[in-house]
C-alpha cells in the first residue's frame, strides 16, 4: 500500500504542470474488462484524481466520465484486481478500453466493493463474490442472499429461510432481478438455500433506498444480480462438492467474439433418500438449478447477451401397500403418492449499442415464470377386479414477459437515462382439483399489462456534490381497472472535505403485485397476485439521511444512516375458522384483508476495516417496524412479525500465510414476534339442550404479542487453497462450522403436558405444561472441495 501511494504521488507531481496549462472540459467513455478472462467488469470505480470526479462501470462494463480538463489522471479500482492509473490528454467523446489484472493468485479479502464505499451511497449494499466465497456458510455452500443479510438494514426472516427483509419490509416487497429478469421464488430445499449459484454470479447489489428510475414495482429493496459472461480468452471450469450439492461450471470462447458459460448444481439428497427407501415407501427428491449464457461482441460498440436460468425442487413420497382390506373390500394393493414441486425459469436477451460518441442504447427482452404444485393421489386395486382412483392437485403460477429500452446520454456534468418498459403479467393464484368433486380455492386468473416510462438524471457540478433525480410513470391495466402513478426519486451526496460526506435519499413507489404465504409455519407456498379493483396496489415512501466518514488512507470507514418509511395498501390473508374448509369457487379477494398500513423507522451503522491483514466489518441496525389493519388486532398498530429491534453482524477475515484463509461471522438479532394466546377459556364440558360447549378456547387478544428469545450464532470457516502438481489445477478445500457454540435458536415453540394416572389407572389430570424452544440447525461441520481447471494452466505447463 505504501509503495502504491508513493507511486501515485510521483505520478501526480509529474503530471501537475500539464493540468494547469489546459482547462477544456471533455466527456470520455470506455469499457473495463478483466485482462484474465476478457469479461466486462461491473462496478469498477473510476476516478479522475485531479478533479476527483468519479464514475462506476455499469452492467456492461461501460463507464462515462465528464472531466473539467482534457488532461486527467484516471484511477481504476476494483476488489481483487490491481489498481491501474491512466494519465493522458483526452479528447471529447474519446472511447477507452481498459483491462485490469487480477491481484495475485489468492483472492483478496477486502470486505466490500470499494466503488460503493467511495461514492458514499450506503443505500446500496454489495459484497464482492470472492469475499462471499470465503465466508462461512451452511453446508459449505456459498449463498449470496444469506451473505448480503450481513449488511445493515437487511435481514433474513427465520433461520433457514432466504426471504429478505429490507428496511422492515416483507420478502414480497423486493424486486429480485437475475440478468434483468424478475425471479419470484428464491428458495431451494424448502427455503434453506437460495436459488442463485454463487459460481455463476458476477456481481450483486441491493438497493435499499432510492432505486434507479428504470426499476420499480416493489416497495422495499432491489436485488440486482448479474451473471458472468464467460471467459473470452480460454476455456476454464470449476467443479465443487459440498455435503449438500455438487456443481460444475464451464466457460470459454466459442470464437473471437463469442463466449459461453454454463453452470449447474444438483443435490445429493435424492440419492441418499433412494438408499433409505424400502419396498413400501420410496421417497424421491430432485433439486437442480442451471445457468447458461452466451455473449457476443459484434464489435467494440455492439454487444448481445442471451441468458437462461432454470431451477426446480421436486419431492415425492410413494407408498405401496400390498394386501389388506379397505372398508369391507379385499384389496390387492394400493399406490399412494404425495408430492410438492416448485421452480423458476427466466430468459433474457440483452443488447447494447454505442451510438455516436456519448449515447448508449440498450434493449432487454425478458421472460420469467414461477410455478408451485402440490399433489396427492391414491389408487386401489381390489380382489373383485375393480379399481378406484382419487387425486387432488393444487397449482399456483405467475409469469411476466417484458421489453425494456433505455437510452443513456452524458454531456459534461449531466448523465441522462430515458426509457420505457412494457410488461405483460399473468397470475394463476391457486387452482386445484379433486377427482371426486371439482373444487377450486381461487379462480381468478388475472392478467395485467403494465407500461412504465422513466427518466433518470444525474448532475455532478463539482467533485463534492452529486444529485440524481428520477421520475417513473407507471400505467397498470388489470382488465377491470387501471392505475396510473408518478414515482419520484431523489438521491444526493455531498462530500465535506476529504473524509466526511452526507447523503439524502427519497423514494416513492407503487407495487402492483402482492405476495401471500400459504401457511403460517413455512414459506413454501408463495402465492403472487396482481392488483385488481378490489385490491388496490401497495404504496410506499422512504426518506433516508446518512453521514459518512473515512480515515485518511481509507483503511477505516464508518457509515451511519437513518430512515423512515410508510406503506399503505398492504395485504394479508384473513383469519378464518381453521376447521372450516373453503369450498367451491372463491374469489381470492374474499380471503384477504386489504388496506393495511406499515411504518418503519431505523438507524443503520456500518464500520469497516478495509486494509491490513485483518479485514471485516461490523454492522448494526436498530429498527422498529409495525403494521395496522382495520380488522386485525382491533385496528391497533401491531409489530411486524420480523421486526428485529437490534441486528448486529460482525464479519472478520484473516489470511494465514499464502494458502490458508480463515473467516468468522457472528450474528445477533432480537427475537422475532409470534402470536400467542393471552388466556384460555378452560374445559367446561357443558351440555344443555343439545348444545355442547366444550371450552378449551384460546384467547388471542393481540397479534404478534410475544417476542421470541434472541437469535445469535457464530460461524467459522477455514479455507485452504493450493495448486496441483505442475500447475494443472487450482484446488480449494473449505472447512465450515455453522453455529459453532451450538446455540438453540428458536425455530418454533411448543407446549407439552402429560396425562397423570393413579396406581389404579384413574385419570388424575395433566402435568404442568412446559414450553419448549425447538431449534433448526445445531452445530453443523462441513467440508467442501472445489477444483478449478483451465486451459491457461495447461498452456503454462507446456511452456514450462
Amino acid at each position: 500500500m505504501q509503495c502504491k501511494g508513493t507511486l501515485l504521488s510521483f505520478v501526480l507531481v509529474l503530471y501537475f504542470p500539464f493540468c494547469i496549462l489546459s482547462q477544456k472540459a471533455v466527456t470520455i467513455r470506455g469499457t473495463i474488462g478483466s485482462l484474465d478472462s476478457g469479461e466486462p467488469m461491473v462496478g469498477v470505480f473510476v476516478q479522475d484524481t485531479m478533479s476527483r470526479r468519479y464514475a462506476i462501470s455499469d452492467g456492461h462494463g461501460v463507464f462515462s466520465l465528464s472531466l473539467p480538463n482534457e488532461k486527467a489522471c484516471l484511477f481504476f479500482q476494483y476488489t481483487g484486481f490491481e489498481n491501474q492509473f491512466l494519465c493522458d490528454s483526452f479528447e471529447e467523446g474519446e472511447s477507452l478500453s481498459v483491462l485490469l489484472h487480477r491481484a495475485g493468485e489468492l483472492p483478496q479479502v477486502e470486505v466490500t466493493a470499494s466503488a460503493i464505499s467511495r461514492t458514499m451511497t450506503s443505500d446500496v449494499a454489495s459484497i464482492p463474490m470472492n469475499t462471499v466465497r470465503l465466508l462461512p456458510q451452511l453446508g459449505g455452500e456459498a449463498d449470496v442472499l444469506k451473505t448480503i443479510a450481513l449488511m445493515p438494514g437487511i435481514s433474513l426472516g427465520v433461520e433457514g429461510t432466504t426471504g429478505l427483509h429490507i428496511r422492515g419490509g416483507s420478502p414480497g416487497q423486493n424486486l429480485v432481478l437475475l440478468d434483468e429478469a424478475p425471479v419470484y421464488n428464491l428458495s431451494h430445499f424448502g427455503a434453506f438455500l437460495s436459488v442463485f449459484n454463487a459460481g455463476a454470479v458476477k456481481q450483486f447489489q441491493v438497493h435499499k433506498g432510492s432505486w434507479p428510475a428504470q426499476y420499480g414495482g416493489r416497495l422495499s429493496g432491489l436485488v440486482d444480480i448479474r451473471t458472468r459472461e464467460g471467459n473470452r480468452r480460454y476455456w476454464e471450469g470449476k467443479a465443487t462438492i459440498s455435503p449438500l450439492l455438487a456443481s460444475i461450471l464451464v466457460e470459454g470462447p466459442v470464437s473471437d467474439k463469442t463466449s459461453i458459460l454454463f453452470s449447474g448444481r444438483s443435490s445429493w439428497l435424492g440419492g441418499l433418500l433412494k438408499l433409505m427407501s424400502n419396498e413400501e415407501a420410496t421417497p424421491k427428491y430432485l433439486m437442480y438449478d442451471a445457468n447458461a449464457k452466451i455473449t457476443h461482441f459484434f464489435n467494440d460498440r455492439n454487444q448481445l447477451h442471451l441468458s437462461y436460468y432454470s431451477s426446480l425442487d421436486d419431492s415425492q413420497v410413494k407408498e405401496v401397500i400390498t394386501g389388506g382390506t379397505l372398508g369391507s373390500r379385499e384389496r390387492l394393493s394400493s399406490d399412494s403418492r404425495a408430492g410438492v414441486k416448485w421452480g423458476n425459469q427466466t430468459a433474457t436477451i440483452r443488447q447494447s449499442s454505442l451510438l455516436g460518441k456519448s449515447i448508449v442504447f440498450q434493449n432487454v427482452i425478458y421472460y420469467t415464470r414461477y410455478r408451485f404444485n402440490s399433489y396427492e393421489s391414491d389408487r386401489n386395486y381390489f380382489a373383485d377386479g375393480e379399481e378406484t382412483f382419487f387425486a387432488t392437485s393444487s397449482t399456483s403460477s405467475n409469469r411476466d414477459f417484458g421489453v425494456r429500452s433505455l437510452l443513456s446520454y452524458q454531456k459534461n456534468s449531466w448523465k441522462l437515462k430515458v426509457g420505457g418498459e412494457l410488461v405483460k403479467q399473468q397470475y394463476s393464484p391457486n387452482s386445484g382439483f379433486a377427482t371426486d368433486n371439482d373444487s377450486t380455492l381461487f379462480v381468478s386468473t388475472a392478467k395485467a399489462l403494465q407500461q412504465n416510462y422513466f427518466v433518470d438524471g444525474e448532475y455532478q457540478p463539482n467533485r463534492a456534490w452529486t444529485l440524481r433525480l428520477g421520475l417513473r410513470y407507471t400505467h397498470h391495466n388489470s382488465g377491470d381497472t387501471v392505475y396510473s402513478f408518478l414515482e419520484p426519486r431523489l438521491r444526493t451526496n455531498v462530500q465535506l472535505g476529504r473524509q466526511w460526506g452526507i447523503s439524502f435519499n427519497a423514494h416513492y413507489g407503487q407495487q402492483y403485485i402482492h405476495l401471500l404465504f400459504g401457511g403460517n409455519t413455512g414459506l413454501l407456498n408463495e402465492i403472487w397476485l396482481g392488483s385488481t379493483a378490489r385490491v388496490p396496489p401497495q404504496r410506499g415512501s422512504l426518506l433516508a439521511m446518512g453521514i459518512y466518514w473515512s480515515s485518511k488512507k481509507g483503511a477505516y470507514t464508518v457509515e451511519l444512516e437513518t430512515f423512515y418509511r410508510r406503506m399503505s395498501g398492504l395485504v394479508e390473508f384473513q383469519s378464518i375458522d381453521q376447521s372450516s374448509e373453503v369450498t367451491g369457487p372463491t374469489e381470492w379477494e374474499d380471503l384477504v384483508e386489504t388496506g393495511g398500513q406499515g411504518r418503519v423507522k431505523g438507524l443503520e451503522l456500518l464500520v469497516r476495516k478495509r486494509s491490513g491483514k485483518l479485514t471485516g466489518w461490523l454492522s448494526y441496525t436498530w429498527s422498529n417496524s409495525s403494521r395496522r389493519f382495520n380488522t386485525i388486532n382491533r385496528g391497533d398498530w401491531f409489530p411486524f412479525r420480523f421486526d428485529r429491534r437490534h441486528d448486529i453482524s460482525l464479519v472478520l477475515l484473516y489470511p494465514l500465510g499464502k494458502k490458508w484463509t480463515c473467516s468468522a461471522t457472528w450474528i445477533y438479532q432480537t427475537g422475532s414476534y409470534l402470536t400467542l394466546p393471552t388466556a384460555k377459556i378452560p374445559n367446561t364440558y357443558i351440555l344443555e339442550d343439545g348444545i355442547f360447549y366444550s371450552g378449551n378456547i384460546n384467547i388471542n387478544e393481540r397479534r404478534n404479542n410475544v417476542r421470541l428469545p434472541a437469535y445469535h450464532r457464530l460461524d467459522i470457516s477455514v479455507t485452504y487453497a493450493w495448486k496441483g502438481r505442475k500447475r494443472k489445477r487450482d484446488y480449494r478445500l473449505g472447512f465450515d462450522i455453522y453455529n459453532a457454540y451450538n446455540r438453540i435458536n428458536p425455530y418454533f415453540i411448543r407446549t407439552e403436558s402429560a396425562a397423570v394416572f393413579s396406581n389404579t389407572g384413574e385419570y388424575l389430570g395433566q402435568t404442568e405444561p412446559k414450553t419448549t424452544v425447538v431449534g433448526l440447525f445445531p452445530l453443523i461441520p462441513s467440508v467442501s472441495f472445489s477444483c478449478d481447471f483451465n486451459q491457461r494452466s495447461l498452456n503454462l505447463r507446456s511452456n514450462d
Binding site: F573, I681, P682, N700, V706, I744, G765, G775
Partner: protein, 286 residues
Amino acid sequence: MIKTVDAHTLRKRLPASLLLLLVLVLTSCEFSREYPGDLFPEEDAQLVVFGFAGNKRSPIVYLFPTVSYLDTSSAAFIEDAEVTLWRNGSLLQNLRYDSDKYTADDENPLLVSGDTLQLGINHLDYGELWSDHVIMPPTASLEEVDWSYLTDDSTRIIATLLVDNPLSVVHSVSAILSSSHSTESRIVGNTAVSETALSNGKTQYQIDLPTHITIIDDFIPVDTINVTHIEINIDQMSREYELHKTSFPDGDFGGFFPPQDTLYTNIKGGQGVFFVKSTTSYLIVL
C-alpha cells in the same frame, strides 16, 4: 475373512470416524431446550359467560373465570354472583345458582319473537358486567309433518317436516325420544337429519329415527326402551352463538390461514356469549 487394521491406519481413520460420530449424534437428537421463563403472556382473569334463554325452558347461565394458556384445569364455576335477566329494559328474573349453573326459580315467562333480552352479572371480583341486547328470533313456521315406518324395517321411522323460510345458518332440528311423554325418561337420540331447500322458500327436513333404544352403561347394554313418543324440536337461535363459535381460533399455531385473534363475545368486560333461541315442537305418538 477377518481383516486386520494396523495401528497407523487406525490413527489415520480415528479422527474421521469421530467426526462422523459427532455429526450422527448431533443430527439424531432433537434440537430443543426448555424455555426458562414465562413466554406466554399473563393477563388478569376475565369472567366467562355461557348462557341462553328460550321460549321453551328456563334460562341457563354458566359463569367461570378464564385461565392462563398453560393451565390445564377445568372450569371453576362461580356461585356467588348476582345474575339477572332483563326483558325490554325491565327486570324479568333473578337467577339462582344450582349445580354449576344459574337458572330461574319461577315458571318460565313467555318469551316472544322480537323480545329484547339482556343479561346482567354482578360479582365482587369481576364487577358489573352486561351482555349486549339480543333479540328473540321468530319461531320456525312448521307447515307440515308426516311420518312413516321405513320400508321393510319396523325398527326405524322417517319423519318429514316442511318449514317455511327457516333462518339460514342458525337453526337446528333435533328429536327427543321417550317411552312416555314424561321428561324423566327422555333421551336425546342420535338422529340423521337431511335438509333440502325447495324453490318456494320452504325447507324440507327428513329425520331418520329409531323405534328402540339400547341403554348402555359402562360399555354394557343394560336395557332397551321401546320408543312411544318422539318430540321434534326446531330451534332458531339468535346469531350470537354462531358468531362466537366460528371465531374460535385453531388450537395449533399452524394452518393455511393465520389464527383468529378476535374471539367474539357479547359480554362487555368479559368473555363468552349470551344468546336466545325460539323452539317449535311437534310430538309424534307412535
